[in-house]
Symmetry: C2
Subunit: 238 residues, 2 copies
């Protein structure tokens, strides 16, 4: 990608391209990290898989009436999106207990969370992305009550659509993380960032085997093989 | 106290007394603990001070129209209260940044929090009393949305009344922790537990010196002297 590098995160670079004001290019990286960057590797092919899966999912959400920053897939590892100012919080939706909530609150692993639990985390690597409540977000994240309600309502709608999408591929949507942003000239929050096995926990509906980044976190499988398998299953249900 | 010991906590024993159904005796202990019990001491005289200060504050709240479990002070170290089933969450109100919120969210110490920030913590020593959001409380604490809203509204009203009370004694109410319970036969949550320098941060309005348990946590002063000074200041403004 040639363009003006605006931002480099752990998994993506963000470029501004001349002649397309208000639009950005997300270029996925082959880097994989876990535990706030304590474990990291470069896995050639990961960029292509994350871009393919996230593009597929955002395209599906678009067709299901959900407004997002996504415009189109540009190349194997890049996509074009509307430029947004990212709200510095992660919105996590949990349908089944796994990961940090199990340790933090002593919840039985794999238990159903009904209704789904929404959590907000402060996007701040230095602080280790701490859990926040609404009052904290209002204080620190330049959001209003209306923004928080809109993000939570969108997150639950995305949850309903993703459950529908993944169930068709024989997958259980355990939990996932969303980020939102504001387009220039608009106060509305719109779904941004990526939705991929880096940001979702996905289990086989029957065996409950992981088809997500937990295989890397826990060292229980080959990330590229698992992401390839996931992509194949998603494509098969089109 | 002779009676049936129902519960022993870090700072109080709770007794059921024959002939007074629906009522309990709270007997304060001379024990002081900090950091989830990692630091502890016995300070003879602390029970008397906590009982005097908490009784004084609950009496003031009663006179200002706030419903609580408090009935009356029984003796130097004991008080009579209505029996409640305690909701297993701590409701913290913060007017000024101090303590865990500073470390957790990187907020500038001593900065004003406007409007006040409310936090919920899961009463669970084994898990270290973790921060919770409303969804977690609904899942784990046998409460409804209405209970949470009622507890938060009561916490903010208590905050207004306590600010008024403490300002008259030249004190800044930095933050405090409340607990709520349900009386037998009622679904309403009512203010319970204690309000004392064990559960509040109180600073001198001018010098911002601590008049609370932080002198013990931080080893910066004599707890009994400080609690005695606080009691004297509260009584002087009657």
């Amino acid at each position: 990608m040639t363009g003006n590098l605006l931002y480099e995160g752990k998994a993506k670079r963000v470029y501004q391209v001349e002649g397309t004001p208000g639009q950005l290019v997300l270029a996925y990286k082959d880097d994989v990290t876990a535990f706030n960057g304590e474990k990291k590797d470069i896995l050639p092919g990961k960029a292509r898989l994350n871009n393919a899966i996230s593009s597929h999912i955002f395209q599906e959400l678009h067709e299901r009436g959900i407004r997002t920053h996504f415009i189109k897939k540009l190349s194997a590892t890049e996509q074009l999106v509307h430029q947004t100012d990212i709200v510095p919080l992660e919105v996590v939706v949990r349908n089944t207990a796994a990961g940090s909530i199990v340790r933090r609150l002593g919840i039985e692993p794999k238990s159903a969370l009904t209704p789904p639990v929404i959590e907000l985390f402060y996007k701040n690597d230095e602080l280790g992305d701490p859990l926040m409540n609404d009052d904290h977000a209002l204080l620190l994240c330049d959001v209003t009550h209306e923004d928080l309600n809109a993000m939570k309502a969108q997150a639950l709608e995305v949850n309903r659509q993703l459950i529908d999408l993944f169930t068709a591929s024989g997958l259980e949507l355990v939990d996932f993380k969303l980020e939102f942003g504001r387009m220039a000239g608009s106060n509305n929050v719109v779904l941004a960032d990526e939705i991929s096995p880096d940001t979702c926990r996905l289990w086989d509906l029957e065996t409950r085997e992981n088809l997500d980044k937990d295989v890397y976190r826990q060292g229980t499988g080959d990330l590229l093989e698992v992401y390839e398998k996931l992509m194949t299953r998603l494509e098969a249900s089109l």
